[in-house]
C-alpha cells in the first residue's frame, strides 16, 4: 500500500492557482494537442498544485493522464521495452522534483515533452560514451525500400526500426535533431523549445546532421538517387 502523502517539493504556488483561475474564466480549458485526447489544462494545474502539497493521488492522476504521451516520445529514444519503461519512469521522477518550475502557462504535456526529450538525449549520450550503438545493416534498408519508395509490405515497426538503426550511427546531437524533425515532425520553433537550443543553433545543427546522414548512407552503399 502506498502512502498517500508525498514529500513536499515546495510551498504551494499561488501563481499557478491564479493562472488557473484566470484561464477558467477567459480561455477554453482544452490543451492544443492535435494527435491525442485533449487534456483540460485546469485539471493539470489543479493536480500540480495538490501534488506540490504532497497529495500522492494528484500526482498519480498526472502520471496516468500523461504517461502515454511521454511513452510515445521516449519510444523514439529506446526501443528496448525495459529501458523504455525506465526512461518514462525517470521523466516522471524528474518532473516531480522540478514541479515547482511548472508555471502553468503552457499545457503540462509540453513541459513533460521537454523533460522527456532531455531524459532521452541523456540516455543517448550515456550510450555513446559507452560506445553501445546498434549496428546498421544496409540489407535492412534495402528490404524496407522498393526502388525509390518504401515497400508497401513494410510494417510501421520495421520502418521505425530501420530509421532507429540509421540514426543510431550518428552523434547524439545529430540524432536528436533528426529524430525530432522526421519522427516527431517538429519544426524549428518546436525543436528549439524541446531542446532548449536557439533557433539558429537548431537550423545549423539540422543542416549538419542532414549532411552527416547523407554521408553515412553513402558510406554504407545506400543508393540515394
Amino acid at each position: 500500500m502506498i502512502d498517500a502523502s508525498l514529500p513536499l517539493p515546495r510551498p504551494v504556488w499561488i501563481e499557478a492557482a491564479i493562472l488557473a483561475a484566470v484561464r477558467a474564466i477567459v480561455m477554453p480549458c482544452q490543451s492544443e494537442r492535435p494527435d491525442g485526447p485533449a487534456v483540460p489544462i485546469r485539471d493539470d494545474v489543479e493536480d500540480v498544485r495538490q501534488a506540490q502539497q504532497g497529495d500522492a493521488d494528484a500526482y498519480r492522476r498526472l502520471v496516468e493522464r500523461h504517461q502515454d504521451h511521454v511513452a510515445r516520445i521516449l519510444w523514439r529514444f529506446s526501443r528496448d521495452r525495459g529501458t523504455h519503461e525506465e526512461l518514462v519512469q525517470d521523466v516522471f521522477v524528474e518532473a516531480y522534483l522540478s514541479l515547482s518550475r511548472y508555471r502553468g502557462k503552457a499545457p503540462l504535456e509540453h513541459w513533460l515533452a521537454r523533460i522527456a526529450t532531455r531524459v532521452g538525449y541523456r540516455h543517448w549520450k550515456e550510450k555513446a560514451r559507452r560506445r553501445r550503438t546498434e549496428p546498421f545493416d544496409v540489407q535492412e534498408w534495402d528490404a524496407a525500400m522498393d526502388g525509390d519508395h518504401v515497400a508497401g509490405t513494410v510494417e510501421p515497426n520495421d520502418a521505425a526500426e530501420v530509421l532507429h538503426h540509421v540514426f543510431a550511427q550518428l552523434a547524439p546531437r545529430d540524432r536528436l535533431v533528426l529524430t525530432l524533425r522526421y519522427l516527431e515532425q517538429c519544426d524549428v520553433v518546436e525543436t528549439a523549445r524541446r531542446t532548449g537550443w536557439t533557433r539558429t543553433m537548431v537550423k545549423v545543427q539540422t543542416l549538419r546532421a542532414r549532411n552527416r546522414l547523407r554521408r553515412l548512407l553513402e558510406q554504407h552503399g545506400v543508393e540515394l538517387t
Partner: protein, 88 residues
C-alpha cells in the same frame, strides 16, 4: 526521388507504429514513498547556492593569488638571497 524524401517516407510509415503501453504509476509513487528520491529542502537549496557562489568567487581569487605570488616571487627571492649572502 531525393534521398531525404526516402527518409521522410520511412518516417511517415514509422509514425504509424503502435507504441507499447506502459504503466509506471506505481513505480513512480513507490520511488517517492521509499524516500530514495527527495526534493531539495529550502535549507539544502540555500547551501547549494552558497557553495556555488563560493566556488565562483574562490576560483578567480585563487588564480589572481597565484599570478601575484608568481610575480612577487622574483624580488622576494633576490631579497632572501641577499640576506643569506650577507649572513654568510
Amino acid at each position: 526521388m531525393k534521398w531525404d524524401q526516402k527518409i521522410e517516407e520511412l518516417a511517415a510509415r514509422a509514425r504509424e507504429e503502435r507504441v507499447p503501453c506502459v504503466d509506471v504509476t506505481s513505480a513512480v509513487l513507490a520511488t517517492f514513498t521509499a524516500g530514495s528520491v527527495q526534493p531539495l529542502t529550502v535549507a539544502e537549496r540555500f547551501w547549494m547556492w552558497l557553495a556555488a557562489v563560493s566556488s565562483a568567487v574562490a576560483v578567480p581569487v585563487a588564480v589572481t593569488a597565484f599570478i601575484l605570488s608568481t610575480r612577487s616571487a622574483g624580488p622576494l627571492n633576490e631579497i632572501v638571497e641577499a640576506i643569506s649572502w650577507a649572513i654568510q
